[in-house]
Amino acid sequence: MKKTNSAQYTIFVLVLFTIIVPFIPLILWSLSEQWFYPAALPQKFGLRAWNYIFSTAGEQIIRGLVASFSVALTTSILSLFIGYPAGRALGLYNFKGKKFIALLLLLPIVVPPLSTSMGLHLWFLHLNLTEHFLGVVLVHLTFCLPYSIYVISGVFSDFNPDFEAQARSLGATSWQVFVRVTLPMTLPGVTVAALFAFLLSWSQYLSTLIIGGGKILTLPILLFSLMDGGDRPVASAISLIFICPVFVVLAASAQSLGRQGLRGIR
């Protein structure tokens, strides 16, 4: 048993170290006021970058946060509502042409957003959807929806429809069956689907840039312009803010999935 423990410990340290490494320079830079090469650590620690974000540039950052958040929230809610029935169909039933439909619905997960966004740009230009909130939501929906369908179909392939039949045989209406049986049973997986659709939209850069045309200033767009500007402390601090929801989502989904974990989710 001792050997297992030390092996487990080695794996743990190795994984933890590899995952933590990229966060070290971000944290150090965001807290540095003076860090000339080749000092290993900042000569002067301080909160200049954080102060800048929350006071001088506060308004811009807040607007970026609000833009990112509202786009991601709308996209994930839409993905959930449209993806839930489709996920059920793909996860639970067999039907003619299922393979083809599954492929069609899931292909947008792997086809890069770049390819579709450029075509959609011309179309959205016509519909006055470019540089518009709704246009950005729609272009994010193109790949967030298929992603939700993928996760939800996995949830339904673990779902036993006999429970619904039992509820119906006890006289429950379709709506009651859904609210009292189906929804509670699939809720943990569905929450995870929604959370990850949110993250997917939250992390988008290029499709937002193409359709939003620099008018919908989400956090990634601000971040890119800051990196070009070369202010490392501020870019680091915003990077850390930008990555915050990741930890919130992971903690929430660990909570909601319990011991089942997050296997196969991307």
Partner: protein, 302 residues
């Protein structure tokens, strides 16, 4: 390739059927959105690449933009670079993931903390990791500073160039860091369902560790490995942010080149950018279909 992320054997009877009408009802909203937005985007892009311009009466459509792009000497260079980045990061991630998944399954199958922290790279935005990679490995980055400190010599001139470099080291590192957990989780699902019985049977028949791996474990994880590698390849082939941030100015990867053309001040370059976008989509879709064809098994529903 799109097998459901089932963590345990499905409990639902697979012969479950529903009237055709209800199935159509369930699928219609999603199909409408995907066909309109995804299909529409690609089709309009294709016509734009053929030279279609809205508002012009007489349209002359031709393959000219595709031909110009494909015969541009830069195309081969760019395709080569993109393939190099996608294949190398997929291959290294796959090998590391096999080792990691087998190790975790063997020694730490129930360690929840490892499973939790492994999810961080999975969900972290590429952009943030790209930025931190610059701060980490650039010639004036954190590692160079640490080296200067530890060896008490200025290494700025001797430190290898790892960002915006010829071998795309920075890009590869970001992708490998991001994708190892993804493949590892896909493999762990299969390894957990496999159980230990087969390996114990192999051991009792005198198979060595390597023999057990190659004749028991590998055949079992093969499909899942192929599917996840295909997704990683498709992603790294078509991604924009990381090569844009960490790549050289020349040659550029196909997606970066496509966007550069698309956003060029000279609007004449735009159809060529869109054509490149379509070419990228065709390459990615062909890869997926090919892997779907190669990994198909007779009795699979999905």
């Amino acid at each position: 390739m799109f097998t459901a992320p089932a963590s345990r054997p499905p409990v639902s009877p697979k012969e479950t059927t529903l009237p055709q009408k209800s199935i159509i009802l369930l699928l219609t909203p999603a199909l409408l959105v995907v066909v309109t937005l995804f299909g529409g985007g690609l089709v309009i892009g294709f016509f734009q690449a053929l030279g279609y311009q809205p508002g012009i009466e007489e349209q002359s459509l031709s393959l000219q933009h595709f031909i110009t792009t494909l015969t541009d000497p830069d195309f081969t260079t760019s395709l080569g670079l993109t393939l190099y980045i996608a294949l190398t990061s997929t291959l290294i991630s796959a090998i590391a993931s096999i080792l990691l998944a087998v190790a975790i399954n063997h020694w730490a199958a129930n360690n929840k903390i490892i499973h939790f922290i492994l999810q961080i790279p999975l969900a972290a935005p590429h952009l943030v990791i790209g930025i931190s990679m610059i701060l980490l490995i650039a010639p004036s980055g954190f590692i160079a500073r640490l080296c200067s400190f530890l060896f008490a010599v200025d290494v700025q001139n001797t430190f290898p160039i790892l960002v915006n470099d010829k071998w795309s080291v920075g890009i590869l590192l970001v992708y490998i860091w991001k994708e190892i957990p993804f493949i590892t989780f896909m493999l762990l699902t299969v390894l957990k369902n496999m159980g230990n019985e087969l390996l114990e049977a192999g051991a009792s028949l005198g198979a060595t560790k390597l023999q057990r791996f190659f004749s028991i474990t590998f055949p079992i994880i093969r499909l899942s490995l192929g599917a996840s590698c295909c997704i990683v390849f498709a992603f790294t082939f078509g991604a924009f942010e990381i090569p844009y941030l960490l790549g050289q100015t020349y040659p550029q990867t196909l997606p970066v080149w496509a966007y550069m053309n698309f956003s060029d001040i000279d609007l004449k370059a735009r159809p060529e950018g869109v054509a490149l976008g379509i070419i990228i989509a065709v390459i990615v879709i062909s890869t997926v279909l090919l892997s779907e064809y190669l990994t198909r098994t007779p009795n699979r529903n999905r």
